[in-house]
Subunit: 191 residues, 2 copies
DNA sequence: GCTGCGGGAGAACGATCGTTCTCCCCGATG
DNA sequence: CATCGGGGAGAACGATCGTTCTCCCGCAGC
């Protein structure tokens, strides 16, 4: 097996197991048996579990950001671009293996404690906030709206994860629409 | 030492440690040394770590609900009663040991897995939703608003926890005010 | 065919943790 | 004062886990 495919299989297998049961509850041996990559290779590619976790989170960060960006860029209207983030959430929450946001969950499990893992989670959420800040500016809305949209998105993730239901995405989208309507700069135009 | 005070000290110590570092990262021995209650007594009162965790979560659930209720009932105006929930969040997030919502964190750490602990977390969040549902009905607002406020509250908890900042409470409160204003049934009266 | 050698399978090791057991002290009771 | 029982301190036990080590197979080069 190629080293690159082994790496990919490890990251995908580890992400699936971490997502399902948490990080600490999954042993390296289980990642080995589920991925089919031997322990020797595993430790060649990732010298410790911490580094594997970091790599999984970094990859997840890239995947999520790419998916969100693709959704956003499918629209031209600045308001639609903002709502597209919530459409992404809706599609995500409907996936059968959805079990909440990896970064919120990881923070809950390992949080407080310093270290690279916490930094990655914080940076990921900061990126979400930055995205909303840019979209809000492009839509000509007041800066404060970005923070409110960030809270709506994170709240939808947390609520959907715990309740095991995708409906928070639609509810958050609807709230975002109301907030957008309340700050509409130009006089008319319906959504 | 009285059995009741031992029980209280155990629950408070365990909560503080779980809040700070997560559940799995805290050993029974550390709870013993931090609480000053011997292991024998600990296992007399809570025959297993799982039962201690359950008791801690149940107590936390009661404490939070009592605090929120007190804040809400300090106001008469139905709109103020809704906003009081976000004032509670603001006061909570400012406490130096705040590290996110215990139930969101616990779900992230142990989630997915069935069992009493997950049930308690889900029930706690359902209670928050029920509270908003009642407050929204009393304020004469449409039902959908309750879900949106729930998402705002949970989002403020998750965002404040990860960012380590209390400002999401104020941002969520401001968003809630906008949502309330957008659905105001009677013609006038300023907030 | 023989020799290395890279990699796979899984045993082994040391640490940690939940839980139980042992030993000892102390205070109450006659 | 002797006895007895409950509780404290901490050792002990068995399981799990991250990490390393051992053994062996299959294949490249001569």
């Amino acid at each position: 097996m190629d080293a690159e495919t082994a790496r990919t299989r490890l990251l995908e297998t580890a992400y699936a197991l971490f997502n399902e049961r948490g990080i600490q509850a999954v042993g390296m041996d289980e990642i080995r048996s589920a991925s089919g990559v031997s322990l020797k290779r595993l430790y060649q590619l990732f010298p410790s579990k911490d580094e594997l976790v970091e790599a999984v989170l970094r990859r997840r960060d890239e995947d999520v950001r790419a998916s969100v960006t693709a959704r956003v860029e499918a629209h031209e209207d600045p308001e639609e671009r903002i709502l597209a983030v919530f459409d992404f959430l809706d599609a995500w929450f409907r996936q059968p293996d959805f079990r909440g946001c990896t970064f919120i969950n990881t923070f809950g499990e390992l949080g407080g404690v310093a270290g690279p893992v916490g930094d990655i989670a914080r940076a990921h959420k900061q990126d979400l906030r930055d995205l909303f800040t840019a979209l809000v500016a492009a839509a000509g809305r007041p800066r404060e709206l970005a923070g409110q949209l960030t809270i709506l998105a994170n709240g939808a993730m947390a609520t959907a994860g715990i309740e095991g239901s995708p409906t928070p995405a639609r509810q958050a989208r609807s709230a975002a629409r109301t907030l957008l309507a309340a700050t509409r700069p130009a006089p008319a135009r319906t959504t």
